[in-house]
Symmetry: D3
Subunit: 339 residues, 6 copies
């Protein structure tokens, strides 16, 4: 019951069995440790550098990952583990405790500081722990996100374009295992992402957006659970049958691409965004997809928000009140699966 408290470098990733740790990170100012929960399963067929890691709460107010991973931690039977499965339900512990996106202590966005720095501020220490101590143990990285307070999504799995065709194909297949209707390829220009860092290391890496609004999306929890189990079994770290797909059948799954800036519709002024279509809708170029209201000029007509091109509406601003430049809609173009 009382988990051992260990230094970041002192996790045993190799001995057979199940181990539940608290990994200690010195609190920036209190005489205290931040304790990150890490569960390691190792089975008899474990190979060096092979394994699956599932991560929740890279952003502290996204809850489908933590919820599903916590359920899995009690469901996975150690005797069924063939290789290596690592579960980190709440990666950004102080942000999760505070119920906010970024680390309260240093104001950093953990998904912008990879590969991190063990001598940096607390957020960089968390990233460094993953980069230095966890990534070398696994070849499959599942980083479960949601839209936070900002963006409502048609539930999606996601990855970036990678050059290696085999890696790309494996990522497509792993993504489809979650059962979401859409898988999204998106621009890779933002520095410091967890997933992009893993992809560059050649890992089979999947991100997702499985809910929004700091709520818990029941479908999103289910997809997370299904996707992690499916990945663990297909990638031979867990024994058993792949669980039945409870969501969108393979033939209904759609790969979309929103790598180009033109997919992103920005708010033209501080105002209130009213969507007039739904996430998941297919829209035509110039179709009205929302109104943008300026309450500072109550007698003006609202601005019409138009689709930039044909495509699927993958995401919309969630909270009505948005700032100028905020993304109010993403219209993604369908592209063919590799096979």
């Amino acid at each position: 019951m009382a988990r051992p408290i260990v230094n970041p470098g002192n996790i045993d990733f190799d001995s057979a069995g199940r181990r539940d740790y608290f990994v200690r990170f010195e609190h920036p100012t209190l005489w205290a440790e931040y304790l990150m929960p890490v569960t390691v399963f190792v089975g008899p067929e474990a190979q060096k550098g092979h394994g699956v890691i599932a991560i929740g709460a890279t952003h502290g107010n996204e809850y489908e990952g933590p919820t599903a991973i916590r359920h899995l931690a009690s469901e996975i039977r150690p005797e069924n583990v063939r290789g290596r499965i690592v579960l980190i339900p709440t990666l950004n512990v102080p942000a999760f405790n505070a119920g906010v996106r970024d680390t309260p202590d240093d104001g950093k966005n953990l998904n912008r500081v990879f590969p991190g720095d063990a001598a940096g501020s607390i957020t960089s220490k968390f990233a460094d722990f993953i980069y230095t101590h966890v990534f070398p143990q696994v070849h499959v990285v599942l980083d479960i996100h949601s839209g936070g307070d900002v963006a409502r999504f048609e539930l999606v799995t996601s990855f970036h374009h990678v050059e290696n065709a085999e890696q790309h194909r494996a990522m497509e297949e792993t993504a489809r295992g979650f059962g979401a209707r859409f898988t999204m390829k998106y621009q890779n220009g933002t520095p410091g992402l967890l997933t992009a860092t893993a992809e560059r290391l050649g890992k089979i890496t999947i991100g997702s957006e499985f809910g929004w609004g700091c709520a818990i999306n029941t479908q999103g929890v289910s997809m997370t659970r299904q996707g992690i189990l499916t990945a663990a079994i297909r990638h031979e770290q867990l024994r058993g049958e792949v669980p039945p797909n409870q969501h969108f059948a393979r033939e209904k799954q759609i790969l979309v691409d929103n790598s180009e800036l033109s997919c992103y519709v920005n708010a033209p002024f501080d105002g209130h965004f009213e969507p007039t279509c739904y996430c998941g809708d297919f829209v035509k170029a110039k179709q009205r997809i929302g109104y943008h209201h300026d309450w500072n000029h109550i007698d003006s007509a609202p601005a019409e928000v138009l689709a930039p091109h044909d495509g699927y509406v993958i995401c919309q601003a969630w909270k009505a009140k948005v700032i100028r430049g905020q993304v109010v809609s993403v219209v993604s173009r369908p592209v063919p699966w590799s096979n």
Copy 2:
């Protein structure tokens, strides 16, 4: 374009035509006025004490009312108005501006201070304006709410039990005009409600929950627009055909009652609520409707949240993180319509 700025008692509710006002309320500390937008339509058949008022943003972070009412303000043609229609898209102006539920200046919840007080703090002044100057002009009161940041709803109209059977029937009919699947009768113990105050004055009064999460619900905007137009036409204040019901057909509409405390499921401890069913589901007594997670004890099993009795899940906590005593679910019992 430039609206006249008038004192609360200086609105002309009687002359024919359309008038757009800013009603002035002295700012508590700045040398400034809060300017509440009020639009009045008066037609040739207007009778003393008869009219329809539609109100948005009694709580400042609920946006379906303001959005639909603003659309209606530009859609309603003065020449089609028979009686009296009053539109107040943003009742709690400072709260709406700040994007928060309660008035920032005095910390008050506008929906707890009715009938208000012209000599009280700013929130009480807003209530007094409605009670003293607006209610005497109308017999139909439509107060459009949403679940705020707290509660996700199956979209509902609502009212309380009233003794007068005719008033009750009229409220049922008016509520059904919005097209929501559910109409909710709920406990009337909370003091200071806008709607309960209107009901006690014998007004045909409808509340609603047409969205949540400080977002804009597209269905909720549509229902608000349909319901206000339908009420205005049916109650003979507006000319024309009742608009077609774009939502739930009359025979699919359900009246539910959650007046009893046993309908409300409270969180047993500070934690994270994970729903395992959906708003609108019919559940059986003792059925599991969610989990309640305590991340302070990560290795404990989550608590099961059970339905207290058979009924429809009308509402669930929206944000995952809830405090002890927070309502995480409301299970309402179906009851027959009056006719």
Copy 3:
């Protein structure tokens, strides 16, 4: 040096001599007292109910009053006092300490709660002390204000219309003693004002606006000092020659009236106010007196702000950023002096 700490009712206003007190008001939550500095001078000719009181920092971030009154406290020689002079340099002690307009403890504006309440919250206790214990001792009340962070003023003295012609004349004369170019009569609809309360008791009551921006205006300090000394001598509480007028000569002094709402120009939207004339300017009706910029729509033309009628610009919004409904300019009409 160490001032005695006394209860509000325990000040000696009658014995001859000078006494410096700290008046104690129980802190709302700390085990502490707020200590209000009060200095009382009593001379040999003191009469019951006659005396001059000068008050600073009714709003905590207005500094000309406190500064000039503190200088006077060391300049007035007890042997020159004929009647009764009371000096309260910092009336709202916690607001002055915090450097903010309103009382931090209860959020109240001290100049809106008169006559106060000894059993109310701390702000009401301060008002009650003045109303119950100080007003009965004096017949001349000088309440020195500034524009705070909100409004820049052409330096003015002020009072409201009173019915009693003698009182009115005495107020005009006392006001002119400060040497400001303008004396302002303004609307008396705001409840709870210190000065209006004193006026209704028949006191010769003067307000002022002697600076702005939480700064110290050198002219304003000089006018305050001159006006208090002049009032004390003219009203026979202090011996000596009336000090020479260092500011505007009697024939240059102008009485203006801005009792009507039409004098107040409100911001039509949240924006930035750019004045294009100066406080003290005489402007003609419809003359452009400023621009109002909306940076949320950077490519729109700024709105022109026009004078509502001929008159003097007495005040302008100080900080550029203003909210909708804020007073951005006051255009006052000149009116004749009583004699």
Copy 4:
């Protein structure tokens, strides 16, 4: 395990046995209830209006009361209860949850609003619950306080002067049962106190200061436990032997009085208080009991803080940084016990 949630008026104070409740108070703005824990023990000899109540956390950051009362809730055996014992470990639930002195929701100090108001803000509702529903059930009221963040105390029990000699004697005896070295009689001018309200109703009422600094004082917890058990047994509500006094023997116990204002030493300016003696010391008039440092004038000598008269130092400011007027020391005069 799951406590029933009841309305304030629905506690069963009469049936024999033990009952653990959560008493519900509607949250001011969330769709939630504040749940106050109340435990009632009733034995076979219970009489109307007779019983002992022990209350913790009237101020939310005082922890000895909650801690000891929680221990007692698991130690008291229902079969040993003769009359009526009521335990409320955390009276001000939201303040306790937040770890602050006053109620966060309305900023009120619960120990200044008695007798409360069921229609007032949340703090007044808590007070009204005690006044209306609990006080009629008991004749002995034990309200366990600490010095909060403000004041370090030599641990004391306390009460005010009451006219009824029998009540006074009973209060002395009950106070001595806690074992503290000092019992303090103090000024009764502050309105709204829980204890003064109970005293006026003729209850045998004891307050205390059993720790400080938002910490848990081990001695204070022990005294609280001992004092409550002793009171319950002596006042015939609990069976058994009075527990042995683990603290100060009867003959070492001292009654002190600090009803006069002269006992309170106020800080002469905002500064840092350095005590040079200890709580519990007997000091002589004019003896230096501390220094008061002004770091804004680093090269000035610190002010000496002197004892106003002979007496015991019962309390000192705890945090070094104090505001002008804050109580930095209380020097209490010893007075004889009634018998």
Copy 5:
């Protein structure tokens, strides 16, 4: 009307015509872009590396620059542009939106981080954009500042000492074009200044202090407009007559130097600064230029603030309340113009 949104490196500085951009900078945590407005005019004579840039709101609460530059953006006719004119009315977009001096997102002062860093936090990205993409296009840099909330100024233009005599002379002439009475040479020890960075690159660089107090100074707006037009015409980027000098004639203009630390008068303690002379006054060494009041010791005499040497008072603390070490006055020595 809808400005194109471009990356920092994608501005067209070369094609003839006028272009209005929003330059995008990824928001640190929202799914949003900060959109910086940039207007580029290019005429037929444009030469590589030659042009004038005018910048406002390097600090977000200084408004004369943004106001005048916005006016100029609508006044300058593209057909009159000979070379290259770049207008950035609000450089620090998030600080301007919030109405505060420094960037809210990372707490950085944009005028301390030059030359910036494209991989740094948001403030460094803004600086890098100017350094990397804008400076290479221009040889004249006009950075319009004000005193913010801190310092009231006699309106001045400013630059630092540079070794190159020709650059120095050109800067003097360009500075005089604004019409301010004073031009100030000041210490160049502070790292990271926008202007010092431009000066080191050999640019003709002018700073200014054209207002204070987060207000809009009408004279300051006029000087900004005049100075930018004059510079653009004199430096052959704009056709037309140099506008007439509406302010101080050339022979009344004074060059002052406050490079030495002795010019700066620091507050000796936390207190309230009362100026007793005016900005622009010539004062003699040891002359009293203000009082410094300590309200924590109300009965002490205020400290006298003395001029350190003969010179002009160029600046005074604006807000009365200052901290120990704050600059309360700058006394600058007059020095001869180069020619």
Copy 6:
């Protein structure tokens, strides 16, 4: 009286006599300087690199160091100084002014950024000043700390293990001069400590924990005063007799070691820590030293906190409310003194 304001590099550490400086550090955003008080005594026997420095307020809310050092600054007679004594009563000036542990401006903990950086943020500048300008002048470094708001301590001096036996012995002797019962050797893994940095430079370096709770501990002030004087005399920088030890006699002094992680007891969950023993107690392995209460589950039994091994309880969490991972107790093992 008015201290000269100097740059960090301009202190005269060599000329005989006493000098009181304010060392200037540019304020990050105001036009102001932070002024750090530094007093230098130099006597006739001063040698290069030899001297004693005493530092207070490395953390801004620890007051025993500032208080005692300020007393010493007025007690030490320049004519008694043989070598060099440097006194810095408040090292982190902005944190001390704000009464908080870390620098408010940049959020940094000054005791984590050594050796600092003159071009870094303000906290790094303070550290750099000590490292670059002060450490080269002295061979004895006394850094007086307290437990802040977090930890109550049995008063201790402290140092880390150093390899040099002579340095180690000298540190033991210097530590014992303060008279504390315990001297603590602790883990040296935390980067950026002032003391560890000095130790690595070969300085005789002593830390301490002489109070807690933002209060002033009378014993702690006395130990600080005694220890600094003793060190100055023993290390031949001050003339005179070593002051008599007013605290624990040499034979009662105990050296303890808590370098191992097992000495630190972390809170297993967010909760309230109740100590059941006292700081300074010797406890046995597995002995209960406290309870840990979870008020979120009021009916659960509190967790027992057990001693990890035999040893002295040197420290306990002070404030009751602690977060998971916070150090609630340190149990240190006694080890022999070097001689």
